[in-house]
Symmetry: C2
Subunit: 389 residues, 2 copies
């Protein structure tokens, strides 16, 4: 068991045991924002055959130029024209398509205003995608454009990575479920809904959001066991604080878990640990909401991404901090910020309420500002390293 390790080492010990979940088939309408499980190769040319690029008339004959008069007909041939709509497959022998507004219709005949070259207004087969070409690789997020491409290829079902199921268990005896009314001395669970929403944002879904409540340790073991059956990853909240006699640690040991690390060099988030239990990762997070959220981003979000075969960590980006932070020294610090692109690259503004017990800094939060151990107080305008979330 590693104790008080770096964020990187803690995270790696988790990622070392994560295997990408198998894929599953979903209806195309359900595939938005999911992760493609296979490379997508174009199964056919798109368009499959030559199409009209305008509303008008397909003209039969030979090149190079097309001019003069044509006889309207149902079947194309030399000197004949067939009315076509934009996107319609063109009859064989089409040499060009003339736009409706470029002709004069005289009974059964049309007269072309100006000569046009062979091939004009024809979209050749395969203009958009060539049969066999790699359209996007596995691991691509299915966006609306890709949905349209899949629909055009006739794919009404698509193989995507399974969404990780996350089990969430609050260990504090004073914690009651979010929807209930707390008695004096009890506190509503805000961390459970927080983690469920964060996990959903990263493509997972909450298999369960539970609180152990007054039953405490007696109930925690069986609950953890049940969650491990339902979930690919379990997050516990609370009971991580004082080192070797932690409640969460005792629970994991009693559940025959192999502890990976306990304590991380991060403020907030120091009181975090992780274990492997029945081949599944269990991450113990602090009950302090900002600590819980920061440790989720540093340790759990990478697991959620890796379970979907995605790069686990956002790349750190340089940014300028627009406001100041008075505290310096101490351990490596992760402040909650809101980052935006400015005229000189990324700018990040520290959000109000940076105490680990406070929820306020989690509203509009989209970036972590990573300050090294022993950093001086931060001045407005300072360069910082930022993890986009």
């Amino acid at each position: 068991m590693l104790v008080d390790v770096s964020v990187e080492r803690a995270r790696q010990s988790l990622l070392d045991m994560v295997v990408c979940l198998p894929g599953e088939e979903v209806a195309l309408g359900e595939a938005r924002d999911r992760i493609l499980d296979d490379d997508l190769h174009a199964p056919v040319d798109l368009p499959p055959v030559a199409q009209a690029a305008v509303d008008g008339y397909a003209l039969g004959g030979e090149g190079p130029d097309v001019r003069g008069e044509y006889t309207l007909s149902g079947v194309l041939g030399r000197g004949r024209a067939v009315a076509v709509a934009t996107g319609a497959p063109l009859p064989a022998q089409t040499v060009a398509v003339v736009a409706r507004e470029q002709v004069r219709v005289e009974g059964e005949r049309i007269r072309i205003a100006a000569a046009l070259p062979a091939g004009r207004n024809i979209r050749p087969a395969g203009e958009d995608f060539r049969a066999g070409e790699l359209v996007v690789p596995a691991g691509t997020t299915v966006d609306p454009g890709l949905i349209a491409v899949l629909a055009a290829f006739g794919r009404d079902r698509v193989r995507v990575r399974r969404r990780p199921r996350v089990g969430i268990l609050s260990l504090g005896e004073e914690i009651v479920p979010a929807g209930s009314v707390p008695s004096p001395g009890q506190v509503r669970d805000a961390n459970g809904p927080l983690l469920a929403a964060l996990a959903a944002r990263h493509g997972a879904r909450a298999a369960a959001v539970e609180t152990v409540g007054e039953a405490g340790a007696r109930e925690a073991g069986p609950r953890l066991k049940r969650l491990l059956e339902q979930a690919d990853l379990v997050l516990t909240i609370g009971g991580v604080a004082s080192g070797p006699d932690d409640y969460a640690l005792a629970l994991l040991k009693a559940s025959d878990a192999r502890v990976l690390f306990w304590g991380v060099a991060s403020k907030p988030g120091h009181h975090s640990g992780a274990a492997v239990c029945e081949d599944r990762p269990v991450i113990a997070l602090s009950g302090n909401p900002a600590a819980c959220a920061v440790a989720y981003q540093l340790l759990a979000a990478p697991v959620v991404r890796a379970l979907q075969g995605l790069p686990p960590c956002p790349k750190a980006i340089p940014a300028v901090c627009t406001n100041s932070f008075p505290k310096g020294g101490g351990p490596r610090r992760f402040l909650r910020g809101c980052a935006a692109c400015g005229p000189k690259g990324w700018e990040v503004t520290l959000l109000p309420g940076q105490k680990s017990s406070m929820l306020r800094s989690l509203i509009n939060w989209n970036a972590l500002v990573d300050l090294p151990a022993g950093h001086p107080p931060l001045m407005a305008g300072s360069p910082v390293s930022v993890l986009p979330l």
Copy 2:
């Protein structure tokens, strides 16, 4: 009826008739990414009472400093100490909390290692939120942090703007639904799934994605009528091309619609129109996929946002284009790009496949590059105006 109007004028004619949809109550777990319908004021102080900031002992007595020995007890009083966990409500009369690791326990007594000032390790009531304060205004998107705050306030249901319902109707007689197998001469509907996914990204949901198919005009009228009953906004696809004798225009006129505009000064997207039918907006889009998607973003997405009471249009941002575009002149052009924040602000890369008939440029698409009418060919490194999507 306005003909061949600017994008701005076309859009405004639509926005002039849009009213924000009423709110609805949803379970907190369903509120993620929805739009808050009311200002959120803190109903109580958070934390509601003073809490322990560490695991340790609440100490009874008076300030200014706390030192010496205390007797462990269930009830606090002068010279007495009560064991508390982080986040636990503190007994009245608590003068400070000493961390567990800062004391020596001797039977029924604890001895404090070093004196600590009154108030140490106490989170005062209202430290995070003060009762009555405005937390976030109506119109805020519910993010995970806000979900946690709502949970902490005991809100298990939350009032959010209703999701606009979008009806999508493909008018082309050759178009068959996305899941079906086209006969020769038929084409699968890619635009319907595309628009449904784009609308979902903007907070709406597709009430129906339909194709008129071979039944054509005979079927289109009744279908439109039915969609207007199910949807807040109807998008038609195709049949918009050649001006006054358009199929889509004829359909709208036959449906007693008041036409707002027909034809927009935009390439692609010129073949777009809009009408008001039974007090609902109907936007007619081109059947060419890139034209359909661009006109959706310029005309329909603002309506989807306005229906949710959101600012209808993204703010144009200056960017540098990283690649070139050989065509110049002609009408105002909207190219599909992928924008990212670089060291000197936004950079946008034009995506491959910029013909209006092609789907390719819609993959990974997150920005529209807005080139004015008559623009010269675009060189790599040129400044451009970009609409983030």
